[in-house]
């Protein structure tokens, strides 16, 4: 019984090739690993090794033949002492190469071609805390620290690592007091080695811990982007659900003040682009606390984008034993009927200030704080736009591929017939952040720009 040697695929893209040269002739004995032919692929000339031992009984495709399809029989092998029959020869010559893959490919592919999973149900408008809950004023900084401390008390597998988080008490004093309470095992000062400690924390998460990684600022997380995107975000999928990275990456994001281009960038849209990551970007202290606690408990990698300018601002925070805010639930800060302002993070400062001033002009703006960018609460945005018929998005990031761009597309898909004006995106300018005070002010999105955009979409 003769065995066919088939034209091999020798690169990821090869469908046919040239049989450049036979290095053995009919009648030769070959053993496994012997190079028997040279084959030109679309990329290079490759050596082709025998995988079985035997005698090369018949060459079916002579050397110099071009356009030989992958899987076409090119020669026949027999075992020692065996002969080849005419029938086998005929059969080999008449055989068409069977495309191994195509026959198996499912025909029902379009079923999976939906661009996004099912649209959401009606928006969740339940309040973040029960009516009558006692509130107290707290800074965003204090709220973040309390969230970490509460979760570290709750779960011994949660630990904090980053530059200056322990003995220095945090470069921005977010981890104040944590070393004292939890000790150096759970509050770990790292060397300045973002790529390394991020990868190490991903490994620790694979190994059963729940790391909180503090980036001194998210600008430095650029050094660690591969570990965040390729290792943390994708492993659950690549492992078929066997293991993932339950962890939080947190720290200040976006422009601070007068620190120029390399230290002033909003990465919200970058991270929101990646399936497998969750992304939160709170504005208020209560959201900072409630979302960070949810983030630490979440079994997925969460990017938690804070803002240095907001750290010292005070907001009402509910005095609850265990206060959390779910991901994917926007918050309506102010109701209105004339235009929907959608923002998140520090962009909310401009949106709320603009709404205040617009009210003086008789324009009632509804202000939606997305709070999380992955998942995004589309339902709340769409419902609001269907009511106001106009939308302006506000964010600090660069304009190209912004969150506002994405929302505009989504609104066009789901609420096109309700729109009375194009959706406008207010963003940071398309320039690296300058140092000079006057230039910096102009590079950022401003309240005046938001007001101007609203006037434009309201035609008044």
């Amino acid at each position: 019984m003769a065995t066919e040697i088939l034209m091999p695929a020798l690169s990821p893209t090869m469908e046919e090739g040239t049989l450049a040269k036979w290095l053995v002739k009919e009648g030769d004995s070959v053993s496994s690993g012997d190079i028997i032919a040279e084959i030109e692929t679309d990329k290079a000339t490759m050596e082709f090794e025998a995988v079985e031992e035997g005698i090369l009984a018949k060459i079916l495709v002579p050397e110099g033949s071009a356009g030989v399809a992958v899987n076409a029989p090119i020669a026949l092998m027999v075992s020692e002492g065996e002969n080849i029959s005419e029938a086998e020869l005929d059969e080999a010559h008449s055989q068409q190469p069977a495309p191994a893959d195509k026959t198996l490919t499912s025909e029902s592919a379009p079923a999976a071609a939906k661009a996004h999973p099912e649209p959401q149900a009606a928006p969740d408008r339940s309040p973040d805390w029960p009516e009558g809950t006692e509130l107290r004023q707290q800074t965003v900084r204090e709220a973040l620290r309390d969230a970490m401390a509460e979760e570290m008390r709750r779960d011994g597998h949660v630990y904090l690592m980053g530059e200056e988080v322990a003995e220095y008490q945090g470069a921005y004093k977010i981890s104040q007091g944590l070393l004292e309470e939890f000790g150096p095992k759970r509050v770990v000062d790292t060397p300045i080695t973002e790529h390394g400690f991020t990868g190490l924390a991903v490994g620790a998460a694979f190994g059963g811990l729940k790391p909180i990684v503090e980036f001194m600022t998210f600008n430095f997380a650029m050094q660690a982007m591969d570990q965040i995107v390729n290792s943390a975000a994708k492993t659950l999928y690549m492992s078929g659900g066997q293991m993932g990275a339950p962890m939080v990456f947190r720290g200040p994001n976006g422009a601070a003040a007068r620190v120029a281009a390399q230290h002033s960038q909003d990465f919200a849209a970058w991270y929101a682009h990646i399936p497998g990551l969750k992304v939160a970007m709170p504005y208020s202290a209560s959201d900072a606390k409630g979302l960070l606690k949810s983030a630490i408990r979440d079994p997925n990698p969460v990017i938690f984008l804070e803002n240095e300018i907001l750290y010292g601002r005070s907001f009402d925070v509910p005095m609850l034993e265990d206060f959390t805010v779910p991901f994917g639930k926007a918050r309506i800060w102010r109701e209105g009927t004339d235009v929907t302002l959608v923002s998140f993070g520090i962009g909310m400062s401009y949106a709320l200030e603009a709404a205040e001033k617009l009210a003086e002009d008789g324009i009632a703006a509804e202000v939606v704080d997305l709070r999380t960018l992955r998942p995004i609460d589309y339902a709340t945005v769409i419902e609001s736009v269907k009511k106001t018929n106009r939308c302006v998005t506000v964010e600090e990031g660069f304009p190209v591929g912004s969150i506002g761009n994405h929302l505009s597309a989504r609104i066009m898909e789901e609420a096109f017939d309700w729109l009375d004006a194009p959706v406008l995106n207010c963003t940071g300018k398309d320039v690296p952040m300058p140092y000079a005070a006057n230039l910096e002010k102009h590079a950022l999105v401003t309240t005046d720009e938001v007001i101007a955009a609203v006037h434009k979409v309201c035609y008044r």
Binding site: P12, D101, A109, A112, G199, G203, G207, S239, G240, M243
Partner: protein
């Protein structure tokens, strides 16, 4: 076999030698079959074969205890087979089928097994090194006495994150064995053209990490070095480096024409230093096994590999719904 300083004189039992022979042969035959399936178009994309390097993983697995962890790069089939993962599941992942370890969603370079403590299978050169240090960090935190084998190549040894990991592993005394599989070529670049000093195992010295060079074509030498390294880690003394000199017979990946080395160089390695022939010779000359005994093993392995190929061919493609699963873990339903 010419000019080998063999450790065959020591008292290795027939059982032990036979098990190394079997484990290495499984990897060799499995990889040959994978190459064959690639040629038939059943395996796509990148496929990096481990042929020639078998003694490295088999020797180190012999030094490992239950519960120890391992993580490696994209040349990972050998590691998976050596730690006891099912050849059927590995081969079916290579063909992208639902019976694969990752349900067909990872492929050759991205495979995992929580059960066997195999943490990948990583496609980005060097990225597995801090991850390995992190696995060891978790074990130290959990005080469970486990050791992590973190494998990477001579090419990855020039990535910055390797030294970031050395620093932290030494600083925090993490129980991690850094295994540098030096097969002498970083894709097509010979070590001398990419690496300023030839002795990679010494690169831990500035961090205070002991290192040694090991003959990676001698499974017994690898095992002995692995035992030293593991003992060091378990004693709480921190990381250890093993630079294991080995050789890959095949190209970097399936589409590598391998013009950067001579056919004679490869042939010389194969005929003089083959790790499987080495053990075979010990078994025969030590009268631990007869030719017939080994032929029976060969046959048995061939059957295992053929079965895995059949399984990988017959297993269905993943259901289209799988496109949308395993992107996020549900709260409360974390992977074990």
């Amino acid at each position: 076999m010419a000019a080998r300083k063999t450790s065959a004189k020591s008292n290795h039992s027939a059982e032990e030698l036979t098990s190394y022979y079997r484990d290495m042969l499984l990897i060799r035959r499995f990889e040959e079959k994978a190459g064959q399936l690639y040629g038939m178009g059943l395996i796509g994309g990148f496929c990096h074969l481990y042929i020639g390097q078998e003694a490295v993983v088999v020797g180190l697995e012999a030094a490992a205890d239950e519960g120890d962890k391992r993580v490696t790069s994209y040349r990972d089939h050998g590691h998976m087979l050596a730690c006891g993962m099912d050849p059927d599941g590995v081969m079916a992942e290579l063909t992208g089928r639902e019976g694969g370890y990752s349900k067909g969603k990872g492929g050759s370079m991205h495979m995992f097994s929580r059960e066997k403590h195999f943490y990948g299978g990583h496609g980005i050169v060097g990225a597995q090194v801090p991850i390995g240090a992190g696995l060891a960090f978790a074990d130290k935190y959990l005080e469970n006495d486990r050791v992590t084998f973190t494998y990477f190549g001579d090419g990855a040894a020039n990535q910055g994150q390797v030294y970031e990991s050395f620093n932290m592993a030494a600083l925090w005394k993490l129980p991690v064995v850094f295994v540098i599989e030096n097969n002498q070529y970083a894709m097509g670049t010979a070590q001398a053209r990419s690496t300023s000093s030839a002795e990679i195992y010494k690169r831990g010295e500035p961090f205070g990490i002991p290192g040694e060079v090991v003959d990676g074509m001698d499974v017994l030498a690898v095992k002995a070095a692995g035992e030293t390294a593991v003992a060091h880690c378990r004693a709480g003394k921190g990381p250890y480096i093993l630079e294991v000199k080995t050789y890959r017979y095949r190209g970097h990946s399936m589409s590598d024409p391998a013009k950067y080395r001579t056919r004679e160089e490869v042939q010389k390695m194969r005929s003089e230093r083959d790790p499987i022939e080495h053990v075979r010779e010990m078994l025969i000359s030590g009268k631990h096994a007869t030719e017939d005994d080994l032929k029976a093993i060969d046959k048995e392995i061939k059957e295992v590999v053929n079965r895995s190929a059949d399984f990988a061919r017959d297993s269905a493609e993943p259901a289209l719904d799988e496109l949308w699963t395993d992107i996020y873990a549900e709260p409360g339903k974390e992977p074990a």
